[in-house]
Symmetry: C2
Subunit: 312 residues, 2 copies
């Protein structure tokens, strides 16, 4: 696996915590069963294009050794990928409707994920770039408790489920993170603001200094101290499977930041372009297939296109 070439690269490791699972996915164009998925899989595959990436997750007694190998082959450190022999791996089954705007969860089996307690390997507690993928907010906080570095940059993602059912725990988490990435409907659910500009300000007031609100095919807004950046979506013409797009996006963003070891606003803007480019690979093919095979050159050329899309 070849890394994306970046000027002034000084790669730090990225720690990613999240889910690894098997998905059954149905779209208007195709369907497949038991494909490698989960927030940590997508985020780690994306991050590893830029920086050494440490995966912290759990799988069950049915996890295919080939899938562990698949992750390792992409340069992912799987020492923190626990195997829980007491049961099978987390599974999710979902269906996308005609326009891909709506996703229906057909079945979800937490399995070993239900009793998952993320434990960081001792030599990963010094991680300075930490991506808290979508898991229970109390577990996201539990990861933060194990970190030892002084200047850790923490990014978090979530889903509407936690905002609805675990709001206090999520609000607590927000006070401890630097960078929140959330979609527009989740932002409205959390802040009760239907205006996205006001929602962004309200989210920043809850803790994270930097907030990205994603708008799907309409791109995203990046809210930071005193400013707003309008990020375009990559102009995808053949949408095939949006599963994992958000995890891919954030994985690549964190990978880029770790690669240059900076987290200032101009660097974050560049990172967001890389996140957008890598996420476009994910949505153009089923599962993480094209994310895995797309390659560094395609990512770099899509970032050039994105830069042109906003250049005057």
């Amino acid at each position: 696996m070849e890394r994306v070439e970046i000027e002034k690269s000084a790669p730090q490791p990225v720690l990613v915590v999240g889910s690894v699972g098997y998905d059954d996915i149905e779209t208007p164009f195709a369907s497949d069963t038991r494909i490698l998925g989960g927030s940590a899989s997508y985020a780690c595959l994306a991050s590893s294009y830029f920086a050494p990436t440490r995966m912290v997750a759990v799988v069950g007694n049915d996890f295919d050794p080939k899938d562990r190998q698949r992750l390792s082959n992409h340069g992912i450190e799987t020492a923190g990928l626990q195997t829980d022999e007491s049961g099978p791996t987390f599974t999710w089954s979902g269906k996308y409707l005609e326009d891909f705007n709506q996703r229906e969860t057909l079945d979800i089996q937490l399995n070993v994920f239900e009793s998952f307690k993320p434990v960081l390997p001792d030599d990963q507690r010094d991680s300075r770039y930490v991506l808290l993928g979508n898991i229970h907010p109390a577990l996201q906080s539990h990861v933060l408790d194990q970190l030892e570095a002084e200047d850790t940059f923490v990014a978090a993602d979530t889903i509407d489920l936690w905002i609805t059912t675990e709001r206090p725990a999520f609000i607590e988490l927000l006070k401890r993170i630097d960078f929140l990435v959330i979609n527009d409907s989740e932002a409205e659910l959390l802040t009760d603001e239907s205006n996205i500009i006001k929602a962004g300000a309200a989210l920043r007031a809850l803790g994270p200094k930097q907030v990205v609100i994603k708008k799907g095919a309409h791109g995203a807004y990046f809210f930071y101290e005193g400013g707003l950046f309008a990020l375009p979506a990559y102009p995808v013409t053949e949408l095939r499977d949006p599963t994992g797009a958000g995890d891919t996006f954030l994985g690549a963003v964190m990978g880029y930041l770790a690669a240059v070891d900076r987290k200032d606003v101009p660097t974050l803007k560049q990172a967001l372009l890389y996140g957008t480019a890598v996420a476009s690979l994910t949505v153009e093919a089923f599962s993480c297939d094209q994310l895995e095979s797309g390659g560094a050159a395609m990512i770099a050329s899509r970032v050039v296109e994105l830069r042109e899309m906003i250049s005057l």
Copy 2:
């Protein structure tokens, strides 16, 4: 009325053809009756912030002389604003629902607009920047037949009604224009492409070299030879009345182009930022009130904000 200050300004006149009418508008926040509206009113008020603007439209025997004065006061040349004494002015009555995404037409009375034949005053036939606002496509073509300059830049807007009922006439018009501005649902209706990137390419294949597809609060895409520009929306926090936003946008774009007397791609991109800034004035207040009163300084400062929103 003070013009927006623009470097290298060499203002050419803009000719605008469209409707002038009285609107009754109801929004979740306010309602008002018999307010000055119509595509030509919004477009001319916007354009006149940048360049001398010639209005070609029709009003009826009930048109208030104060409204004509109001247009003149904003620097609009009303020699081409015919008065048809045979009946009353065009009226439109509409209602916006809670989220402003849906608009319901409650009543429409074409009145004198029904028999309107746009006639260009002799001394306006040399216009080199021509905005064909939303009227019957055959009338838009009729305006083009009266033009005499060699290098006229023609922009057109439309609505779904004409795409549905007058498709052949609209397709003919498309072959004669340089710049089409259309919203996303109209683009899909015309091209049968739900993917906006493909729709943009399909529209360019129908004639206009430059195409803008508007996405409301999500900004717009500008398609040109070999490129794509992602235009952000101005971050409006208090949406009050979206009526006339599209007409305002295109009016300001054409005003800017005429002000610098250029129509190359980099100039068009700048023009689109000005269009976005001026349209934001329209939507923040009822009717054309803030469009009229907003002023050159506010427009200039919003363009600076928009540039920052896409700067890396």
